[in-house]
Amino acid sequence: MKKQQRFYYVYLLLIVLAGVVFYVSSPDHSVPVSEISGPKLSVHFLDVGQADCILITAPNGKTMMIDAGNNGDADVILDYLRSLDVDTIDVMVGTHPHEDHIGGMDAVIQAMNVDRIVMPKVSTNTKTFYDVLKAVRDKGLKVNTAKAGMSIPLDPDLQIQILSPKRERYESLNDYSVVIRLTYRQVSFMLMGDLETLGETELLESNDQLQADILKVGHHGSSSSTSARFLKAVAPQYGVISVGAGNRYGHPNPKVLERLEKVCQVLRTDRDGHIIIETDGENIAVRKMKE
């Protein structure tokens, strides 16, 4: 074999090997983002540290936000929205009035065109909550009570159902968490807020359809949530944990993490940064901003 020809084969082999390595090392076996074409649903899990903020962009271009991070996260959220040229939040949902869920909500309401606000009808004594209510009033808006059985009209091609809260009164604020099941054709998301075992049991005892492809894990992966029974009923392909690096609260809990890792691929905002899940209603593509 001529020297030149030998080099040619070595190059060819290297290219093939690189392709194999790239394929095998790709983080999941979902489709690449480029294969999602046509009208798509995007769900952005923003990295807002030890807090929640989810942005949904519907196939028809409408937007919905679920929670708005900590008090210090307004700039991160608003910068992110501006980077997507979003100036309107058609539906703003506050899952429950803890500061790690409504902290930046007053700033979002002030800075964006907001059409509708949905929250559980429960109060707390923080200035954080007071400032959210003030922002709603100053904008001339009203809040709609989130209740199980409600559906949110955002896009005729999406089903957005509220599964929780099922009762009018609970002991602790996490139990009031608004749980949303979002479906686009064959792909479903289950977005849990900070729902704990009490609420998970209520869901299991109901007739609600719980299976979902993507589970936004309840309460930052805390031991209070994601019981084995509940996880079995949801049987997700992806589990997304919204959590801050090095938090003092033991989130995510190692046992919960182990339980999740046995059945699905775990995505975490502390490691992956902003996580974007896109779907055409059939295929699912995942993008991690820290990759």
């Binding site: 500061e99 790690d100 707390t124 923080t126 200035k127 604020l173 033991g250």
Partner: protein, 66 residues
């Protein structure tokens, strides 16, 4: 200064200061009955501080040689 318990996570209460800064406070700082939304007042107890100071000074004087 008034502080408000926003929530509990693990061993901590996350409390809100008047400027909306959030601080982790170990549960041991709070009475067991403390719950979300409870407002606490942080203030210097002037008389108690003075009384302690006097008590300790007295004992120092007793045990100190020089």
């Amino acid at each position: 200064m008034q502080i408000v318990i926003d929530r509990f996570e693990g061993d901590y209460a996350i409390v809100e200061l008047p400027d909306r800064t959030m601080v982790d406070l170990h549960r041991r700082f709070l009475p067991e009955s403390a719950k979300e939304g409870d407002v606490f007042d942080i203030q210097v107890l002037v008389a108690d501080s003075k009384e302690r100071k006097e008590e300790i000074s007295k004992l120092m004087n007793e045990v100190w040689e020089d």
